[in-house]
Symmetry: C2
Subunit: 315 residues, 2 copies
């Protein structure tokens, strides 16, 4: 029997407008991915689960992606299987479903990562569904976040970090004083009946990022990873995740300890000491079908299938 | 006293047109970076060394970058210091000096990686020197490589891998039968008098890549890395380097063994078993000022300063 776990982002702050919707969406996407896992394989299941969340408009990936500093969007995604398939896209804008484009990069090209206009042109040639204009709540959150920044309100570590950089930055306007929230992401990991593990991730990145910013999501070992022992998908402050490489580290810890829970505990100790708390969360599944998740942020939206086949949502 | 080593790319094939020029360029750039190391710090030295090679037009970085499948160019670069500074750019086209843009990302933004049009716009705002049209030998190599592919000639592992993918690829024309050479890159690592380590890397990527392809160079741990113990810069087949994460692995091996040479030997065993031979090379310097380099390709262009202060070039 297979195993499946999805997440809808780790952060310090959740948009109350979409909180109920987000729970409904991840529940529905988990059920859908579980059906696919029964019919096909783990790779198909994680891609289906992530595509479902990208299409929802209420999570920070695909259609619901947050806006950058100029009110535009650029998306990152990645996918990997224990069979050695890897693909990712960085800073793409032409499709609602970067996870599908990442699959095409993995299957049809000799490359692992494609980005920018070249990747957008590839998406257009493939006739992938275009990215629709942002949902209303995304615009509202952008305007409110900008407004809070202009009033000088501050709360998160990422926000203070950004302020520090922006204050020293001769290029950008000096009006930006703060950002809100660690970047959300969506992800899925699964094990299928034939023992194959797969991981997928997709995101709009951190709100009010500089246009062109690429986070951890398209980087194997950072935002996603899959070996014959464990599959992992992470979420949070992308810059800190790039430094910590949590999914690569988890695979090493699972090799060393042979136990997913122990490896996850050691991983979070490592993450806290390497880059600090309030930085990230992740989901994982091992080759024995054990699932697990951890986060050092205030909240993380997670959904999985329990032993009775029911969807469990944790928030 | 500091230490410094530069490389001009690892590959199975060197362009005979620029071979002599390449030796002259790396010698000159090493001497220049050594001067900067004496006046300033290791970070300034590696950036100066890489910028010098980007400006040369004879190595695969900056002005001399190879052309992609459509005859256009996109460049990757990264820089990191043991102080924790990290910056990188992916698939950029607007500047001759991606290494300078990577420095701006590191110093002035809250991000680590920027790519595509957003990063190009950032380069334009900074008034960085634009990317001039390719030198003549780059056009010639592009035309000859395409021509050899059309005639069905094959030699390298990367070439065969690409053929396999392209044959199965419904999107691209089926006329491409082969690619030549593992991707060259330029890089530099240094230790300064105050014990700070720094690494830098810059590349035009692999010749005839799909437009938008992003390699290992903008990924910390893959193309470059610096800790308080060791700095590393790698070159070769980017996709395999992303899988092997050699610079991150080297930093772990130096921690474990405490000896750079032993760590480099173990690293190459790991690389050969993880992704195979004919895939990559790298340069490194540790906190004691020991320098080292390894490659499993046919050739690698390396230059360093010996104990008497003279430039030694190896090819």
């Amino acid at each position: 029997m297979g195993a499946l776990i999805l997440h809808g982002g780790a952060g310090s702050w959740r948009d109350e407008r979409v909180k109920g919707e987000a729970v409904r969406v991840i529940e529905e996407c988990t059920r859908y991915a579980w059906e696919i896992l029964g019919e096909k394989d783990s790779l198909s299941a994680v891609v289906a689960g992530v595509k479902c969340m990208e299409d929802s408009g209420v999570l920070n990936a695909g259609w619901g992606s947050v806006l950058d500093l100029l009110g535009t969007r650029s998306l990152d995604a990645g996918v990997m299987s224990s069979d050695g398939l890897i693909g990712a896209v960085a800073a793409v804008t032409a499709t609602k479903n970067p996870i599908l484009l990442a699959m095409h990069v993995a299957v049809e090209t000799p490359h692992i990562i494609m980005g920018g206009e070249g990747a957008d042109e590839y998406a257009r040639r493939l006739n992938l569904p275009p990215l629709p204009p942002p949902p209303q709540h995304v615009w509202e959150r952008y305007r409110e976040t900008l407004s809070r920044i202009l009033k000088g309100e501050a709360s998160t570590r990422y926000g203070r970090e950004l302020v520090k950089y922006l204050e020293a930055n001769p290029v950008l306007a000096d009006s930006l004083k703060e950002l809100v929230g660690v970047g959300d992401t969506v992800g899925a990991v699964a094990l299928d009946d034939e023992g194959r593990l797969a991981a997928a991730v997709s995101t709009g990145g951190v709100i009010l990022k500089l246009p062109g910013r690429i986070g951890d999501s398209p980087i194997p070992g950072a935002g996603f990873y899959a070996t014959s022992r464990v599959a992992c998908s992470s979420t949070g402050w992308g810059e800190e995740i790039i430094k910590a490489m949590p999914c690569l580290k988890l695979s090493q810890l699972v090799e060393e300890t042979g136990d997913l829970e122990e490896a996850l505990d050691k991983l979070m100790d490592y993450v806290d000491s390497r880059v600090g708390r309030d930085t990230m969360g992740l989901i994982a599944v091992d080759s024995e079908g054990k699932i697990g998740y951890r986060y050092n942020t205030r909240a993380m939206l997670v959904a999985y299938i329990d032993k009775t086949g029911r969807v469990v949502v944790k928030f």
